[in-house]
Symmetry: D2
Subunit: 357 residues, 4 copies
């Protein structure tokens, strides 16, 4: 079905380009009666907002969200929630020079091949600016699943990983990298700063954990929770890989090593699992364990080093990106990963309720 | 939308349990006029069929497909194509003992938690037997995209990877592992045989490459080709990770290393790319390069070693699987990966045609 | 989305042609735990079955349904329910003569124009035989909405209407016309018999009333209950008009005449309505009153009188239908109308539950 | 799937309440390269705009549309087109008195029963003001089907019908009733004015004809062109009946009378039909004849005469509507019917192209 909407019953549709007047999301299927105001959404947009440290793009966008419909006297009414964010700091002229050439690694050539034309200003619709709309919609999704806590963090930048033993959830908000390991955060300062200064870029791995998901969400066979999460995450700009639980690591384990043994739970609840290689999902359905996924972000394609490319008319050229860009898009991708997790889970909660009451 | 259907305009719905009378797929939206007979589907089912070597489950299923609708005088009519495969070799009694207990790593507990009851015979709907229906549907999908060649192969078993330098596409059909490296295939014989004999199991990584995909398939933002592939692959039984192009490896590259430079193509065609880190997809749209994905299969959860578990009534028990199982499900997953690639591409070809003519 | 599926969360997909080996439906999204066996479906198929009186087609089909998946030990499991009905009495040679010509009023020309080929045997996919699959699926839908009673009956044949004052629900099953007015049933015997003998055909109006639908089902704006009913009914073969409540009659009333005043209900329940011009739906949402719709069936297009037509190659010809046909398709359309009502309501019950708990 | 979106591949989602800051539509799946500016949409909104004569509501809304995304340098880019219309003339206080009571005939009670709360100001989401968003989206749809001409007109008000012999398409734009019969238009002036003055209201029948639709659009079985039209029209506010071609009239014809004979067409084109009882659709697929539908609008439910009702707390009351309303909503429904016709046809054109190329 449609191209720019996501979800089955809790569904959102996004619109807008990097350099248009605004962008937004329409959230459909939200349960009625939930307390919702701009203040419930803004903090998540602020976390994703550019220009907050020297480690992210210097584009300055307040990214103030407006709720244009779907609430009455501070509560959701069950009708579509229209969220709009105006674009304010657009320097389209930065892009004039690449109007006629394709930036390697970007979607420029692909868009042109598909549509026969493209909005070259800041990547148009293919810009990661679209993810602001996801984050806004994700903030609404969180209200639908108050039983769930979602946390995402950067686990690796440029191949330098955190030390799991040093994991401190409190630390995530204390550094500009969403890094739960204070030591790694310090190392990354140098790493990312050097990439920024040299006009290079770095990749990253983001992990996301959702706790409190009850057993039973997700549905076989083509609405599996893990499949939907994989689609949701892979669709984020710059993402090239998704793992659930042990992911590729599981392919190197034996059946014995990969088992998640169960013991009787406390007080008649579900089982107590002795491990979580599965990442909280079996057969596409949540097991009650934390839902765990890992997401690989490629390095930002916009770099200062000239790369061979071609013009729209097919002639050889070189492209050096001059616009303002993130040296490591994975960092600002972290709130987007959280949002997509919330959006998938909210949809599956409602979908489960539809079938199973 | 629905749980057991996949695809937007080229869409299939599967049904059936491991130990029911039959299973099948209904393929909807297929273009009319394509030559189609059972003989176009059967070879793909045969490739996936169990019991062909000692390295796969000994369940013996002819997996003969019947076309019950949608063709007339050997051609597709544009109406739904109903494909049915009868189940013949079911030994449900093998499963009687686990009717009351949950097999760790399987979907037993999750299904019960979700639905309040489950068909325990062979995993019921959660059995990998459902993938036969995907393979049948995938064979129809291939007819929709004659311009595309799809090849999948096992790239790694139990952590032992093929040597890319020894890659020989001809070799894939010559060994029971869909392995393109004759040397690796020899090593895997011992590896898998040992796992089988000891009642253990191994994971695997399957790679899939589609060549001939023109630039322009896939559509932003929530119908991206890579997002749909990720969802399609992650939904295959036992899959825990998906990569497009360099995948997680891209997270460890710099922007310079990850660039796919372009040069003018021959004869006015699209660009000639000097690398394919992106795996043939940019911004969710195909670039004309080969579409490449990698899929991680966990080791089969059914093992002879007893694993701690609980009964339906919540008491502690141990489960040792006695049914006939694959020591490495990734092997027979290979034709399924191919099928899902074909199904996603066929859908996107038609979707692209819908919007862009 | 797909062409041959209907419904959002309670969703069914049908397949099969008039003269293929079988036809069927796959019901997806059915809640688990419902008691379901063939015996719950067969009576509805029997009601629709041809060859039961001289007033319907003489094609003799047992229309015995088989459940191929989705149940375990007599209960639904929440997985897809595959229903299959074999075709047994096909006389394809009856149709050989019209292989090369288009029957006026039928879909022959339209199918050929669309697909470039067609299965001419009995209309292929466009045959009303497909409605057997709807009736089977509808029988499952009824289990999902035990709080609702659905009754459909023929209110008019060939312009001869029932007398509302003579309405007797018991009468419906006593005559071959699903007619609630014994006097009208007697008149119709002569009317329909004469049409049959002269090779002519008659139209009909079918009314359907669903009582017990609670207030709150249906959802604005593009999933309105009345809009979904209209689409569901208009999609039945030979249907040309649909009304909700007073329908076209409402267009001739004043606002005062059309008002449905409300008084406080008994025991704190919903309001007591003093009229039901609205047919139980306001703003696309059920009000708790009976849901009422009326459906117009055109006369069967297959008649013995020759009608001008053209051949596939575009030459003038005449077509006289010789196959076995119903003199009034509206009669056997009655169980189909009931089925579609059940299918729409079941879907909306689950959809409402998804959003509103 | 979602509640507030319509269409399969050409899909739009609307949002907004009668008394919110704005309302809008997001149009997804639009082909790229079409010339589109606000000026292509505004005339259709102007035709629907309130306050243009004494025969419609006196609410004064400029209904100026803004395009917020999806175009670049005056052409569609293939990405979502966000259309926004600000609400300017809201007198919410008019509605304060009915905050606690349900207006009979309106969706007030149904919304409250469904959602547990409602935006009572002007009907909130259930207001016919939402149809402005449909009209805006419909204007985009028209650009997708330049081969088609769509015309809608009022054929009947308060039971007073036009004379088909006096039909003059030019007349439609000359009177405030979209009436093609100058004589009827004169009669209606008195009729509607009297209803307005007495605080009463009238129903209407709107006819819509689309010429130029090629044979082959629409798809069996659950994406039939007539079924989609029926759903689209029945979903318009105040609509209670839909007919395709002869509609209910066909139920009173014999097979001979209802036949649409065919003769060879000119120049090798499709057949020349001698009648169009079918309204241009057979088997759910267009035949190349004009697509004809008729839509019944009930009289406006808002009337000055007090009607028995209940309060939110269940007590008896009387409701007399004081807001500004149309004495005959069918009049302003005419551009909405046209828009829905365009939206359905545009979707089916693309859907046909997807499957059949």
């Amino acid at each position: 079905m449609s191209w720019n909407g996501f979800g089955r019953v809790f569904r959102f549709t996004t619109w807008g380009e990097s350099h248009g007047p605004a962008l937004g999301a329409v959230v459909d299927g939200c349960p009625p009666g939930l307390a919702l105001a701009e203040g419930d959404i803004q903090p998540f947009l602020d976390a994703r907002r550019p220009g907050q440290s020297k480690f992210t793009t210097q584009r300055q966008e307040p990214d103030a969200v407006r709720i244009l419909s779907g609430t009455f006297e501070g509560r959701t009414t069950g009708t579509p929630i229209s969220l709009m964010i105006e674009n304010t700091d657009q320097r389209s002229k930065d892009y004039a020079q690449i109007a006629g050439a394709y930036r390697p690694g970007h979607a420029d050539y692909a868009y042109d091949a598909k549509y026969g034309l493209r909005d070259h200003r800041g990547g148009g619709r293919s810009s990661a600016r679209e993810t602001a709309a996801r984050v806004a919609a994700g903030a609404v999704a969180r209200l639908v699943i108050p039983e769930v806590s979602i946390i995402a963090y950067v686990a690796e930048i440029g191949g330098d990983a955190i030390d799991p033993a040093a994991f401190d959830a409190e630390e995530i908000a204390r550094n500009p990298f969403f890094c739960p390991d204070a030591g790694a955060a310090r190392r990354w300062e140098g790493l990312v700063d050097q990439a920024r200064k040299s006009g290079s870029s770095l990749g990253a791995v983001v992990e996301c954990v959702a706790t409190g998901v009850p057993a039973g969400w997700g549905a076989p066979i083509y609405a599996k929770l893990d499949a939907d999460l994989a689609g949701a995450m892979m669709g984020i700009n710059a993402v090239k890989g998704v793992e659930i639980g042990d992911g590729f690591g599981a392919a190197r384990l034996t059946g014995e090593q990969n088992a998640d043994p169960m013991r009787p739970g406390e007080g008649g609840g579900g089982p107590r699992f002795l491990a979580n290689h599965a990442g909280g999902i079996a057969g596409g359905i949540s097991t009650g364990q934390p839902v765990v996924c890992r997401v690989a972000f490629k390095p930002t394609s916009s770099i200062l080093t000239p790369v061979e490319s071609i013009t729209r008319s097919g002639e050889a050229t070189e492209v050096r990106t001059r616009g303002r860009h993130d040296p490591c898009v994975g960092i600002r991708g972290t709130p987007v990963v959280e949002a997509m997790m919330a959006l998938v889970l909210a949809d599956h909660k409602l979908l489960h309720r539809a079938q199973c009451g």
